[in-house]
Amino acid sequence: MSLLAAHDVVVAYGGVRAVNGVSLELAAGESLGLIGPNGAGKSSFLAALGGQVRLTAGSIALDGEEVGGMPPYKRARRGITRTFQMTSEFAKMTAFENLVTAGHGAEGASLRNVVVRRRRTRAAERAVAARAWSVLDRFEMAHVADLYGAELSGGQRRLVEIMRCLMREPKVLLLDEPMVGVAPHLVDKLLADLRSIRDDGIALVIVEHALEVVQELCERVVVMALGRPIAAGTFDEVVSEPEVQAAYVG
């Protein structure tokens, strides 16, 4: 059974079908690239997987459980988390706080726990802080722990977003243009980091315009145009397809 299975996903904004019947399956530790020209529906499909937009039709299952109708926070608690095209760091929270905010379990940071289950909450806080430090160490970011999100560079913000997702211990990580705003000399480091995340068994779905990144990172690529998949396969296979070339060149 696949980890993530999307079937005939349709996302419509008014009369426009931004995603028009996309299906895909993903196994643990697999990385899938979604490419296509602007307006192809890639980000909308990613939002459909993450729950940021409502499904007009179709279904999404995680580990066999239907999650297509769930709000984003419930999907995150089950293991689907994501980054955004515009970096989404919590700007007036330190990098450390950005991470620990994501660290509590399904009910950890709730008002009830804070007020009633105080001892348990304190213990959870300690565990989460320890995990945050280990994640910061792993990605060589401990030196910026006390900097506000707004004080970080573009690449650091991307990394904070990704680390924050990892604090949730996700099964699926959705990345919307992770290389946007990242300085060229840091692209290789971010690529290596993403590879190591994939090697941990986390499935990645990556929307990216920088095709060399997709080529480096993704075993499988789906090309979308006008809301539909027009090709699927390895990177080398899809880019040689005439339909893909036509979609890109016009």
Binding site: K92, M93, T94, T101, W133, D146
Partner: protein, 329 residues
């Protein structure tokens, strides 16, 4: 001297009540990003409820609902509850997944509508005339008028101090941190597992409870409450205090209250009147707007900005002894 004593004691009561308001709005807006432009409505409901449950049954002199003669402590509890329940009811439909500026507009509109309803429907809270003659709490206690006023001022300050401790504790908890995440990036907060709708509603209800309490405390001191007392502009005075003092910082909120509704709005009393009667009062409102805009332009973080929580100093970081001396860049 008595006049001065009365004036200062009254100002102290207003200070305490406004501190409660600023704490409430700072929790909602400064920490969770909920722009409650209808704040004054929740204070008003607390005031009305606290008044009508101690005034006794409705009479020919004034009409209202829930007329009763309850002790003032119970009245304050009911005022707090009324603020919370009204916040829950309004929050349930106004704080759903819609844009934050739309939420603010909805809340402002609701508060304007509520003023019209209360003014127009007399049996609710005696219409435009409002409720008067709210009995003095603990009138059986043998105190001179002056002594009573100062005792009441002390009581309000005590309640404000307890509320300060409560909101500070909540804001520093993991729940408070989740509120700040919601404030900074709502979509990202949801994408890491935070139930943003529930968080927003919780903070709205807690803030509403504090607002109701503040209204109850005020009406039991001044003895009357009418729609004139809760114009929407009052909400913006508290917002201005927050912007001046510092958003996301409770010390800043208290400082803002001292500077804006207390010192700034009281100063004109001591200045010679100019122009026609009422001109100075009107100018005050214009000045409030100007201060707000000026503050946003010159120092948007306020006099006392939000504090940075350094990781090495928190108890949480102690779980990792090797990093006790983290350098802060």
């Amino acid at each position: 001297m008595t006049a001065w004593s009365y004036y200062i004691a009254t100002l102290t009561v207003y200070f305490g009540v406004n501190v409660l308001s600023a704490l409430s709005l700072n929790l909602q807006f400064g920490f969770a990003g909920v722009v409650n432009f209808g704040y004054i409505l929740f204070q008003a409901v607390g005031a009305y409820i606290a008044a009508v449950v101690v005034l006794g049954p409705s009479s020919a002199f004034q009409q209202y609902v829930f007329g009763a003669r309850l002790p003032f402590g119970v009245a304050l509890l009911l005022a707090t509850l009324a603020g919370a329940v009204l916040s829950l009811l309004i929050g349930l439909f106004s704080l759903r997944n819609i844009r934050r500026d739309y939420q603010a507009a909805i809340l402002l509109i609701i508060s304007l509508m509520a003023t019209q309803v209360v003014q127009g429907y007399v049996p609710l809270f005696n219409g435009s005339n409002g409720v008067t003659g709210v009995p003095r709490p603990l009138s059986s206690v043998p105190l001179s008028l002056q002594g009573y006023q100062w005792a009441y001022a002390g009581w309000v300050l005590l309640v404000a101090a307890l509320a300060y401790a409560l909101v500070t504790w909540l804001s520093r908890s993991p729940w408070g941190r989740a509120l700040r995440a919601l404030r900074d990036q709502e979509d990202a907060a949801a994408a890491i597992g935070l139930n943003v709708t529930a968080l927003r509603l919780q903070v709205f209800v807690i803030g509403g409870a504090l607002a109701g309490l503040s209204g109850g405390l005020l009406v039991e001191y001044i003895g009357a409450w009418s729609p004139d007392a809760w114009g929407y502009a009052e909400t913006f005075v508290i917002f201005t205090a927050l912007f001046v003092g510092g958003i996301g910082n409770y010390r800043g909120a208290v400082l803002g209250v001292l500077l804006v509704p207390i010192i700034f709005l009281e100063l004109p009393r001591f200045l010679p009147q100019v122009g026609y009667p009422g001109l100075m009062d009107s100018m005050e409102w214009i000045a409030i707007g100007a201060i707000w805009m000026l503050c946003l332009y010159i120092r948007p973080q306020g006099i006392v900005p939000e504090r940075r929580n350094r990781a090495a100093r928190t108890a949480a970081a102690d779980a990792r002894p090797a990093r006790e001396s983290v350098e802060v860049a």
